[in-house]
């Protein structure tokens, strides 16, 4: 079943602080994503993979076209939706694992990981139990759970991000290099988590620089280069 429809989407940046330079990026992107699929975004470095993913998450604005997400039984066009609707859509339908961990200092790792589940109505206890299970699977030592992840190593922060992203069974998931900077064991855990999400019927869009990881979990690929302008 289709979960995401990208129709004739175009994107450009206008840099007002630099003489209003216009940087065209994409034109006429058409792309659909179905539940159970894991599609790899491909293209050389700088081709705009992360930009496209951010557009799908409504983090970046699209100048043209429509991006529709199947949210609670209806299609929601996020290029026209209100902030309120997009927040609701992100809360229950679309998860995004970015490469950066952005959190309030002092908040414990356990709270940060449980938070998305509490936000959709789970009890604090149930959310904490699931958070502990994920943190343990991702080999974050138990004595770190009560600490803020801001003091952790890059690889540990990445795994906290993944735990936070996978605690909710989102119908649509966006993964920006989820296996980067992980050792073999943790990499396999992340691939298992992706496989489990696919089995549940999640529609997944991912950026994987690691060819072996891509081959292991992806059901197809989408090259953004063909829609790129001016490269």
């Amino acid at each position: 079943m289709e979960m995401l429809k990208v129709t004739n989407v175009g994107k450009s940046f206008t840099l007002h602080t630099q003489g209003s330079a216009e940087i065209p990026v994409f034109k006429d992107i058409n792309f659909n994503l179905s539940g159970g699929d894991c599609i790899a975004l491909t293209g050389a470095s700088g081709a705009g993979k992360s930009t496209f993913m951010r557009m799908v998450y409504a983090n970046y604005v699209c100048q043209e076209g429509a991006i529709s997400v199947f949210h609670e039984g209806k299609w929601l066009n996020i290029t026209e939706a209100s902030p309120h609707e997009i927040l609701e859509m992100r809360r229950s339908t679309m998860g995004y694992v970015s490469q950066f961990l952005r959190v309030i200092p002092r908040v414990s790792t356990l709270d940060i990981v449980s938070d998305p589940l509490v936000q959709i109505g789970a009890s604090e206890e149930a959310a904490a139990d699931k958070a502990k299970e994920l943190l343990a699977r991702l080999n974050i030592p138990e004595n770190l759970w009560s600490l803020s992840p801001l003091t952790f190593s890059g690889g540990e922060q990445q795994r906290v991000n993944i735990a936070r992203g996978f605690i909710t069974d989102y119908p649509v998931m966006l993964l920006d290099e989820p296996t980067a900077s992980l050792d073999a064991g943790n990499r396999q855990t992340v691939l298992d988590l992706i496989e489990e999400a696919k089995m549940r019927g999640s529609a997944i869009l991912g950026i994987f620089h690691d060819q072996a990881a891509r081959d292991a979990v992806c059901t197809g690929s989408f090259d953004v280069t063909q829609y790129r302008i001016g490269s």
Partner: protein, 260 residues
């Protein structure tokens, strides 16, 4: 916590003129329960004027501010009779000032500062008031042996936390904050951000927060309004406004942040 679908506050065409000078002009937005709205912009951009107009402290020149009252639904706060508006400000609303001295009574004890708000809404039992005050001081991490001390003996960060306790003790639904972390050093600021975030989440508060600190805005608010010379020049999802700003002024603001 999922947001319910009823608008809590609606601001329409709100304008405040100071003679010929614009305080804020044609501001429109809706606020939902559980939502945190950040208002950013440089000093003099009209942020505080707007906040004062919305929070019934400054009658706007034109436009309306409607609040979803428990009894009658959406109602223009400037068309309410004075006692009704006063009651709303004491019960459903709270205002956290940048300078805790503006929001506290400095010559009565910390406990009395919190208890006073309770008495204002009709609580009369001394034991209950003292217990509730104690409970709130512990929630904002002020030790109970400071209950009888004057706020003037507190540090700036403690005073700010006391002001928050005083404001939230009556269980408001909507909290206005004017630069609540301004003037605090960064470690105290982090503590306060954590406190505000957990209060918003656990109590389902709606918040309108004025700040010039974009990092604070990013961590606390769901949505942002960017103001310049009294006008809202850009508004939207916080991360969208900060990561892909469309207006020249927002781009300038975002590109002016120092990297650490």
């Amino acid at each position: 916590m999922s947001m319910n679908r009823e608008i809590l506050l609606r601001v329409e065409n709100l304008t405040q003129m100071y003679g010929d000078r614009i305080g804020c002009k044609d501001v429109n937005f809706d606020l939902w329960p559980g939502e945190v709205l950040g208002i950013v912009g440089e000093s003099g951009s009209g942020k505080s004027t707007l906040l004062n107009c919305i929070s019934a402290q400054l009658q706007p020149t034109s436009g309306s501010v409607s609040y979803n009252t428990r009894a009658d639904g959406l109602k223009d706060i400037y068309h309410m009779i004075e006692p009704e508006r006063r009651l709303l400000m004491r019960t459903d609303w709270a205002f956290v000032h940048q300078n805790p001295r503006d929001g506290l009574r400095m010559n009565v004890s910390a406990g009395a500062n919190v208890g006073e708000r309770l008495m204002a809404v009709g609580d009369r039992h001394y034991g209950n008031i003292r217990n509730t005050a104690e409970d709130w001081l512990s929630r904002v991490e002020i030790q109970d042996n400071r209950l009888d001390d004057l706020p003037s003996t507190f540090s700036g960060g403690m005073q700010q936390r006391l002001q928050i306790a005083r404001n939230l003790v009556t269980g408001p639904r909507l909290v206005f904050m004017d630069e609540p972390t301004g003037g605090l050093d960064v470690s105290v600021q982090a503590k306060l951000l954590d406190l505000l975030r957990s209060l918003v989440r656990n109590l389902g508060l709606s918040v309108i927060i004025v700040t010039h600190d974009l990092a604070v805005a990013r961590l606390l608010s769901h949505r942002l309004m960017v103001m310049q010379r009294g006008h809202v020049v850009e508004s939207g999802l916080t991360d969208q406004v900060l990561d892909d700003p469309q207006h020249p002024y927002t781009q300038l603001l975002v590109s002016s942040i120092l990297q650490t």
